[in-house]
Amino acid sequence: MGARMRRRFTGAFVGLGLAAACASVPSGPVEGADYGYRNGDVWVRGPWELITPSTDVDEVIDQLCPAIMRLPRAQGREYGQEYCGAIYSLGDGTYYASLPSTLGPLLKATPEPLKACFAPRSVNDPRGRTVVLADYHSHSWPNSRMSSADRRESRQRFSIRIQFDTGCRVMKLVPYAGESRPGELFERREGSWVRIGIIKPEHKAAGIVTWMDG
């Protein structure tokens, strides 16, 4: 094989490789079609076709992180993008995931690029009225837990909050907002929820966790 032919083969190989790499990164949800503002409130579209619905909400939760982490800049660390979405039902006992939204505040003048997104307020599903069970959001860093700001009682809109990092460590907050029982914080380990801390009623306002031993 001549040198010219070899170069052509190498070029074609690199080209195909790049095309495959590009094809494996989805372009991500689109504002206006998949999420947006309605009277200032953030809405997201559902269901997200990549997530198989289930009557077991944990089966839906388990699919979220791998799907989100394939989206643009989801693992981009300081140049990353946080994604916010929702888990909901149509009142028929089946849970669906919405597409994620990238909407959030832009603080262009701050030294560190901000990674924050708005928890959606509602889900648009053309099939009917939606009932949101949980919001979810990603962090663009590994080993990044649910922030104390996100554990505060006044920031809870739904019964559950899900957060995960680039290593797909998934955390679940059950805030029990407005109730006298403590909030609970769980981590997903090998297919089950392990309670790692509680938020005592007197600590709900600040979101302070009392961590479990071990």
């Binding site: 832009l106 924050a116 307020r121 920031r155």
Partner: protein, 139 residues
């Protein structure tokens, strides 16, 4: 001759950056200052006492999170303007090991989030007060 002068200006002007004064808050005019009435003492029931070491740690974290000279970008929304204000945040500190102070700057609830709840609007720092530096920012 003119070209030589221009060249020396071009070389010398950037050096002025090395002589920047550290930030000092501006003082009001003497007229405005004269109108201020100090209490006989700071009221016992409303005063707050903080060790300056702690305040320095908080100041270092806040200066990193939201520098005093930051102005909202052009076209910022009302909520973004709110997020640019230091007054929209609270600062929490706790002592750590070996002279480290942990400082968290976190958005106060119900200040900027009239409509949408914003996730992760905070930063937690490890501050070396003696060295006047940020050791790490938690991710």
């Amino acid at each position: 001759m003119k070209r030589g002068l221009l060249l020396s200006w071009c070389l010398l002007l950037p050096a002025c950056a090395l002589f920047q004064r550290p930030y000092r808050p501006p003082h009001a005019s003497a007229e405005e200052a004269a109108r201020v009435q100090f209490p006989l003492d700071l009221p016992a029931d409303t005063r707050t006492t903080l060790p300056a070491e702690l305040v320095t740690a908080m100041q270092l974290a806040l200066d990193d999170f939201l520098p005093l000279d930051v102005k909202p970008h052009k076209g910022a929304t009302d909520m973004e303007r709110c997020l640019y204000r230091r007054e929209s945040y609270e600062v929490i500190a706790a002592p750590g090991p070996e002279g480290v102070t942990f400082v968290r700057v976190t958005l106060r609830p119900d200040v900027c989030e009239e409509q949408n709840i914003v996730m992760d609007m905070e930063a937690t720092y490890a501050v070396d007060v003696a060295g006047r530096r940020i050791l790490a920012r938690q991710r």
